[in-house]
Symmetry: C2
Subunit: 186 residues, 2 copies
């Protein structure tokens, strides 16, 4: 079941929603149409399940990266550069399922909209928790506006996925990351 979801997620990630046919999904999942429909109901529901799966994985990943015992600013920098490296290193899957869901599905799919909004809140929450900890530890200014910074960093993660695809130049992307990190007050 989880392997099926992983395979499906991978395909949607690579191709987007509309460009992926149910036949493609069956092949990837190693299941007949009937089984897939019995288990998930429709292509749309399957997509939402895959999206939720993706969000769970990536949110967990981000939290883990923020909890490492390194200087906060460096953790953020590494995390953002990691996103860039992922995109540049996987030419057939350069984007982010969440970003593509936002662009392709959210305006017409309230289920996806809900998942996307929750995902953004979760990412922001993870950043906010890390920022609070860093502020308490004196790593960043006591005046830092944690909520605003958390929202900003969440936006930067999305921005880097888009920029990595459209402008795949490591040097320029690194400069963007460094500029973004510089916004965190010492």
């Amino acid at each position: 079941m989880d392997e099926v979801l992983s395979a499906v997620m991978d395909l949607f990630w690579r191709q987007g929603y509309e460009a992926t046919s149910v036949q493609d999904l069956c092949t990837a999942a190693g299941l007949g149409k009937g089984s897939l429909y019995a288990a998930f109901g429709s292509k749309q529901e399957l997509y939402e399940r895959a999206l939720r799966h993706y969000v769970k994985l990536t949110t967990h990943d981000l939290q883990a990266q923020l909890l490492r015992r390194v200087p906060f600013r460096q953790a953020v920098r590494d995390l953002l550069l990691d996103r860039v490296a992922q995109s540049l290193g996987a030419p057939e899957r350069p984007g982010c399922l969440l970003v593509s869901a936002v662009v392709e599905r959210v305006p017409h799919d309230t289920g996806a909209a809900r998942i996307a909004r929750d995902a953004m809140e979760a990412l922001k929450g993870a950043f906010a928790a890390a920022l609070h900890a860093a502020r308490a530890a004196g790593e960043i200014s006591a005046d830092a506006d944690v909520d605003a910074l958390a929202g900003f960093l969440t936006a930067m993660v999305q921005a880097l996925r888009v920029m990595s695809i459209s402008m795949p130049d490591e040097k320029q992307l690194e400069a963007i990351v460094d500029t973004a990190v510089s916004v965190i007050p010492e």
Copy 2:
């Protein structure tokens, strides 16, 4: 011809590439299939023409906003908030054709990839020119890294399109904009 391109652009903007059928495009353009294909060759070529059209319009728009005789920082803030307002104000067309092209088409369409890359360079160029002028006028620090800041602001424009769709909360988006603007050194 230009009205046709505008109508087509609008439809791709609202629905994306895959979700828009050639029949839809004909209806929107007020043309038969034969005429459309005679004029543009294929759905893909038509999309690329529409995307180029969109990029031309939005780049011009951004340049105009940056050339207004207002303090530079305020011009940038207004510009970013404008993007947010556009997204929040047009629920059926909340995104950005360029961002959706990047996510949906660029990985599999080298033509679109070229257009997107050129578009990002053009946006960055417009920001860089405005930053140079502001620096010469003493509005921003003489130490400001114009190239890095221009790239960063280009990324922020894309980020705000994504965030406006997934987290349509004006207050939070405004906080992101303010945080981003604060990176410009005085």
